[in-house]
Every structure is written in C-alpha cells, then in structure tokens.
C-alpha cells in the first residue's frame, strides 16, 4: 500500500514537471470534441440523446492514449525492470498505475465536460452529480482493464495498435452502460439508468479485482 503511494507520487511528480500527458491528451480530447460537434451539430432537443455518445467516444479515445503513458514513462532506460526488481508486490504497481490513470482521466474530464456542455448546447440542470457519478464509475472500469493491457501492449512490437485492438472490444460494456446512464442522468433521473449503473458497478468490481490478481502474470519475467 505504501509502495503504491510512493510510485503514484513519483508518477504525479513526473507529470507535474513535464505536463506531457495532460497537455497533449487534453488538447486531443478538446479537438475530438470540436470535430464531433461540427460533424453533427445537434439541436437542443437532440443534444441530451447525442451528447453522451460523443462524450464517451472522446473519453475512450483519449483515455486509450493516456493509459499508454502510464507505462511509457517506465520504458525509458528500462525503469520497469527496476520497479519490478524492487521488493514490492506487483499488485502495488498495478494499484499505483490504476490510480494515476484515474486521476489523468478525471483531469481531462474536468476540461471536456464543461466544453461538451457549451459546444453541444447541453442544459445540465440538476444533472451534474449524476453525470459525475457515471463518469467516475465508467473511468474506473475503463482504467482497470486499460492498465492491465497497457502493461501487456507496451512490451510487444505493435504497441500503439495493439492496446486499442485489445481494449476496445473488452470495454464495450463500459461504453454502452456509460452512454445509457449518462442519457438517463441528463433526462432528469438516474433511476431510469439503474440497470446501466449496475453494469458499470459490476464491471468495476470484477475487473479491478481481476486486474489486481492477474497483473503479476503480465509483468513477471
């Protein structure tokens, strides 16, 4: 647990000093959102139905690239070997990378969500807490598998292509349930999205535990 905190603090310090991930993927997310917004400029009545899909596709695409960063920083000078050679549980490394990715996703969404409200002409009303809840649940699900397979993809030849190919079909439940729950939240009640929220919660639970247990097999040599 303490080891995980140390690794997380190290990653956050690197990010704070370089501001590489947040700036590059933040800008990419903004651009994606802008492209989507003018590719299909929704009328205010369409917006609550369309905006969740646009938002989630943007999150998944930028997240996919952002997650690679978590392990890309360890590739330089073979830091990963040092990390794994340290007398700590590999699960601590998983936990640190998972939380780091979650923070990165959250930071990007702090920018993306207000922008989506403006560009897609959303009327949020009192829906903000519901949307935030859905985003947090969705991020955790996405990051749980993303962290696991980023560690895999990083060490193969085709890493940039392989991560999306492996991850996209696996996180389909997050995308479907995320869109449905966001739609329900925007339509005024999370109650309609109860089923979707359950899917997200189960996905989070199952794959955070699975990632925690399986990570050692991914990194051991």
């Amino acid at each position: 647990m303490r080891a995980a905190l140390v690794i997380l603090r190290k990653d956050l310090r690197i990010e704070w000093r370089t501001k590489e991930s947040l700036s590059s993927y933040g800008v990419l997310g903004v651009l994606l959102l802008v492209v989507f917004a003018f590719a299909h400029d929704p009328t205010p009545t369409e917006a609550p139905r369309l905006a969740p899909a646009v938002l989630w596709v943007t999150i998944v695409f930028t997240g996919m690239l952002g997650i690679q960063r978590a392990f890309a920083v360890e590739r330089e000078q073979d830091c990963m070997a040092g990390l794994l050679g340290a007398p700590i549980d590999p699960a601590a490394v998983y936990l640190a990378k998972l939380v780091g990715t979650l923070l990165l996703l959250a930071a990007m969404q702090v920018v993306l969500v207000p922008l989506a409200i403006v560009l897609l002409r959303l009327d949020l009303g009192g829906a903000l807490p519901g949307v935030v809840l859905v985003l947090v649940l969705g991020d955790l699900g996405f990051a749980s598998l993303g962290t696991l397979f980023a560690a895999v993809a990083m060490r193969t030849r085709a890493r940039e292509v392989l991560l999306p190919v492996l991850l996209l079909p696996l996180v389909v439940p997050v995308v479907i349930a995320g869109v449905k729950a966001t739609q329900a939240a925007l339509a005024g009640g999370l109650a309609d999205g109860a089923e979707a929220l359950r899917v997200l919660a189960v996905f989070d639970l199952v794959f955070t535990v699975a990632g925690w247990l399986l990570f050692q097999y991914v990194v051991q040599d």
């Binding site: 193969t156 392989l162 492996l166 389909v172 479907i176 349930a177 199952v206 794959f207």
Partner: protein
C-alpha cells in the same frame, strides 16, 4: 493423442455427411421462412462451437498460469483460432439468413452485437499472439487475455441487452422460429455434433502443428549454436 486424432477424423466425416443429408434431404422446409431457414442448422451449431472454444481458451489459460504446461498453452491458442473461425462463420451465415427474413443484412440486436464484439476480443487475442513473438511471456499475456475475455462475456450479455432486440429464440420456443418438426431437432443435433467434432479435430491438428513448429525452432537454434561454435 494421435490415436484420438485418427478416431476423430473419420467420425467427423461420417457425422458431417449425415448432417448434410439430414439438412438438405430429410428435414422439412420451414413453413414461414422457406428454404433459407436450413442455414440455421449450421448457424446454431457454429454458435455453440464458438462459445465452447472460447470457454476452452479460458480453461486452458487458467491451467497454463497455474501449472505452466506448454500443452495447455497450445490448446488455448488452437481453441482461440478455431473459435475465431467458427465465430466468423456465425457472422457470415447470420446475415445470409437475416437479409430475406428481416430485410436487412445487419442490425444492432443484442446477440448480433455480442457476437461481433466477441469476434473482436479473440481477433485481438490472435493479434497479441502474432505480434508478441515466440517467447514465454506472450503465452502469459495471452492467458490473461483468455481469462479476461470469458469473464467479460456475462457482463457483455447484460450490457448489450440495454439495446433492444429482435433475434429469435430457436431452442426455447419463446418467439417464432422454434423447431416444430422432430426431424428439425434431429438435424440440429446432428449438425451441432458434426461441427463440434470438426472443431475438436481442427484444434488437435492446430495444437500439433504448434508443437512441431516449436520443436523445429528449438532444433534450428541448436543447429545455429553448433555452427557458430568452432
């Protein structure tokens, strides 16, 4: 292993011929859908084989992570390949039937969505195998993916049901599309058996070629080392 292979091959041929005879000569034509309904016998059989293969991948992967047996690893790889083959057949036979009956080649019905996503997961598995190279860590990564893929199946099932659906229930008679005639049920059973035997046989062949390829690689390496030594 070789004897099992030698038994499976003729058994597979006999049941396959029986299935073809049943489906094209004996089974009556379905009243509403007509001749195109006959594709069901292979479509449903492929669906069953696809799932059986993917669950075999997960089982073999778990055994591999636990025991580190190369046989389990090769079984997982072979099952994934054969599973993707039958999943592809499923995705080809489905639209051929759907076009005249539903009027469209494709619709985002839960089962169709589910199948295409499963196909994506295991094509990813094969890509991981292909790009990873031939060392032991690829086997571990693939095993992790094989397990995660199957764990994902029930969650996927629930999540795609959030979309609405029109796929018929063939066996359960819950909607139209139930198999009324007893010969139809025999036809379905025999063709499912034939496809299962075919899949089993293909998996065994594939696992054997994988083992031989590994042996050749080992021998080649030894030869190179001997050539390099003075």
């Amino acid at each position: 292993m070789r004897t099992l292979e030698n038994v499976l091959a003729p058994l597979c041929m006999v049941t396959m011929l029986a299935a073809l005879a049943l489906v094209f000569l004996i089974v009556p034509t379905e009243a509403e859908m007509g001749i195109v309904q006959r594709i069901f016998y292979f479509h449903v059989g492929s669906a069953w084989v696809t799932y059986a293969c993917f669950f075999t991948v997960a089982g073999a992967s778990a055994v591999y992570l636990w025991k580190r047996s190369p046989t389990a690893d090769r079984l997982a790889y072979a099952s994934a390949e054969v599973g993707v083959l039958f999943c592809t057949l499923l995705l080809i036979t489905g639209p051929i039937w759907a076009r005249p009956i539903w009027g469209v080649w494709w619709t985002w019905d839960p089962r169709l969505t589910m199948t295409v996503i499963l196909w994506g997961i295991y094509v990813g598995y094969l890509m991981l195998r292909a790009f990873g190279g031939e060392d032991e860590s690829v086997a571990r990564w693939a095993a992790v993916l094989g397990i995660v893929g199957v764990v994902d199946i029930p969650i996927l099932r629930v999540s795609v049901r959030l979309l609405s659906g029109i796929h018929p229930y063939v066996v359960g008679n819950e909607q139209s599309g139930g198999l009324a005639d007893p010969w139809m049920q025999v036809g379905l059973g025999v063709s499912a058996l034939a496809l299962t035997l075919l899949a089993g046989w293909l998996i065994m062949l594939r696992a054997r070629t994988e083992r031989l390829a590994h042996e050749v690689a080992v021998l080649q390496r030894r030869l190179e080392m001997r050539a390099a030594a003075p």
